[in-house]
């Protein structure tokens, strides 16, 4: 066999040349830099308003990122993703109502609770496909919602107010809004880096392959269930982290965090930004929250404007905002061409 011999000599001949990380991640770097500069811009104007809005953008960026892992890369349409947000938030609320206010305990509890919920509900819902999967995840989401409503000791329907933000080994690390913002942004950057590594890894390639053609993947020998369950748990835990941050931001926890409408909003964020690209999820979360804020300044019926806008995006900008930007000459090359 002479053919493989000469092809083996130069590794991957016509692959695109490998650029340094900062160049491959130009869009992400620009995005995170812009977010890092927000507090300085905020200092010029209505600081606390702008900062709290952008903190929500960052937190929902993490939640949307986690949903993009399963929805965008795994083609698993989870309609109960807000439940994980609630799991993370209630872990903070319940522990803090029992006097445990340290993040060193709250954060692992939030991650463990949402991961466990993902493991149990994922193991059951991943046995279903397509519309049935959507319906089962929705059902589990509603189950979590009504469970929270029924927790009379923890405020039931009304939710509960926290006595303050989490501490870290007794230190008030996120008491100030600015510090909290940067801590949240730090988590977002770490989550992004984790997701980016995950989707390119062996594990991520199996997940992406299953999105394209599950039968083909099983026919080369991958038992898909365990891989999909694993990514479901990772996404659930990551969304639990967002829940932990959300509870701390509002210093309030309520069942409203896990309504099915909230799950729908998370899907909208990911689709709006661009499925299966990771940056898209963050851009989508930002676009959604900023548009909501801006439009609701004009009218309380802002959804009347937002709805048709979303329809237009889905119809005419396939691939969401990121997809539209990619059509600008040179943009795709600049951003690194992921996804």
């Amino acid at each position: 066999m002479s053919a493989p011999a000469h092809s083996a000599a130069p590794p991957a001949p016509s692959m695109p040349t490998r650029r340094p990380v900062w160049a491959r991640e130009a869009l992400a770097v620009a995005l995170f830099l812009a977010l890092a500069l927000i507090p300085f811009a905020a200092a010029l104007g209505a600081e606390s308003y702008l900062l709290s809005l952008c903190t929500r953008v960052v937190i929902f960026g993490i939640a949307a990122l986690s949903l993009d892992l399963i929805l965008g890369y795994g083609a698993l349409v989870s309609f109960g993703h807000a439940a994980f947000l609630g799991m993370g938030a209630y872990a903070v609320g319940i522990l803090s109502s029992h006097g445990i206010k340290d993040a060193s305990l709250q954060l692992p509890a939030a991650l463990a609770a949402s991961a466990l919920f993902a493991l149990v509900t994922g193991a059951l819902s991943l046995r279903a496909k397509g519309v049935y999967f959507i319906m089962i995840t929705l059902a589990f989401g509603q189950m979590a919602f009504f469970l929270a409503v029924s927790l009379a000791a923890y405020g039931g329907d009304d939710g509960m107010t926290l006595s303050g933000r989490s501490r870290l080994f007794g230190f008030e690390w996120i008491k100030g809004d600015r510090a909290f913002y940067y801590v949240s942004l730090g988590f977002l950057v770490v989550c992004y880096a984790l997701c980016r590594s995950l989707v390119a890894s062996r594990f991520g390639r199996v997940i992406r392959g299953a999105r394209e053609n599950p039968v083909r993947m099983e026919a080369v020998g991958f038992p898909l269930f365990r891989y999909q369950l694993a990514i479901y748990v990772v996404a659930g835990a990551m969304c639990g982290l967002a829940g932990f941050l959300l509870a701390n931001q509002a210093e309030f926890v309520s069942p409203a965090y896990m309504t099915w409408q909230r799950s729908g909003e998370l899907i909208v964020m990911v689709v709006l930004g661009g499925l299966g690209s990771l940056h898209g999820a963050i851009i989508g979360a930002a676009a959604f929250l900023l548009l909501e804020e801006w439009l609701s300044g004009f009218t309380e019926h802002w959804k009347l404007i937002f709805g048709p806008f979303l329809v237009l995006v889905v119809l005419f900008a396939r691939g969401g905002i990121l997809g539209a930007l990619d059509r600008v000459p040179g943009f795709r090359r600049w951003r690194g061409g992921h996804g």
């Binding site: 066999m1 493989p4 083996a8 390119a200 390639r205 199996v206 392959g209 053609n213 993947m217 099983e218």
Partner: protein, 252 residues
């Protein structure tokens, strides 16, 4: 144990409601044999492949691989034991490059895929055997092309490369020539000729010319039943086969 069959079907049966699609099929395929299954449309050939590969469950009967019962195993479990299939309707990962399509088959048999770090697309240990498999089917020049952009014949070649990269001991080929043009099928037949002896092969095919050129033994499936099994020449001359099936065809 040279003469023990690598693949045995024992009284295999499957029905969809009242329609019996696999009716008491028993077949022994010794190591290294190129065995072809022919039969008219609707004879249950693809269902048989689905049952052997694990894509469709069997109602009763047994499938033995090296004497071990694999009837209840899932498709991935059978693949890990060396039982690999291709599909009649091209089944590839359209958004992946040809190389990654094949590299995934290598990945499936090369250690754990629960690795969350490191760029899988750059793993030379996966890409090297994948390139060799692509070279073997003559698709090397196309390896960085998106699989969806390949021509139909090239997609069929890619499927064979994927199956090869899984290092099968038994290959189930479900009409690899389906929908290919004359030149494409010539190339695929030449390729299958080269595969002969490297793995035990069970081929389901419509193309008689290909079947009689390649097969060591031929089985004829009609309404889910094996009505004849033997060397190509004997099957060709079998009166029952002629009446049931071959009579419709041009016979050399």
């Amino acid at each position: 144990m040279a003469d023990r069959p690598v693949l045995s079907l024992v009284n295999l049966r499957k029905a969809y409601g009242a329609l019996v699609v696999t009716d008491d099929v028993s077949l022994d395929i010794p190591a290294g044999e190129f065995h072809a299954v022919i039969g008219p449309n609707g004879a249950g050939k693809t269902t048989l492949i689905h049952q052997i590969s694990g894509l469709a469950p069997s109602d009763s009967g047994q499938i033995l691989l090296d004497g071990q019962d694999v009837t209840r195993l899932s498709m991935p479990q059978r693949v890990s034991r060396g039982l690999v299939r291709s599909f009649q309707i091209t089944s590839i990962l359209p958004g992946f490059s040809a190389l990654e399509n094949v590299a995934l088959a290598v990945q499936a048999r090369s250690g754990s895929s629960f690795r969350f770090f490191g760029d899988a697309a750059k793993e030379e240990a996966l890409n090297h055997p994948a390139r060799a498999a692509l070279a073997e089917v003559g698709l090397e020049a196309r390896m960085h092309m998106r699989a969806s952009l390949l021509s139909h014949g090239e997609k069929r070649q890619l499927e064979l490369a994927i199956a090869l990269a899984a290092q099968p001991r038994v290959m189930l080929l479900d009409e690899p020539l389906a929908g290919t043009g004359h030149e494409e099928s010539e190339a695929l037949i030449a390729l299958m000729k080269r595969l002969k002896g490297r793995a035990t092969i069970l081929l389901v095919e419509h193309d008689m010319e290909a079947v009689f050129a390649l097969a060591d033994r031929v089985s004829v499936l009609v309404y889910g039943r094996v009505i004849a099994s033997g060397p190509p020449q004997a099957v060709r001359e079998n009166a029952e086969v002629r009446a049931a099936y071959l009579g419709e065809e041009e016979l050399a």
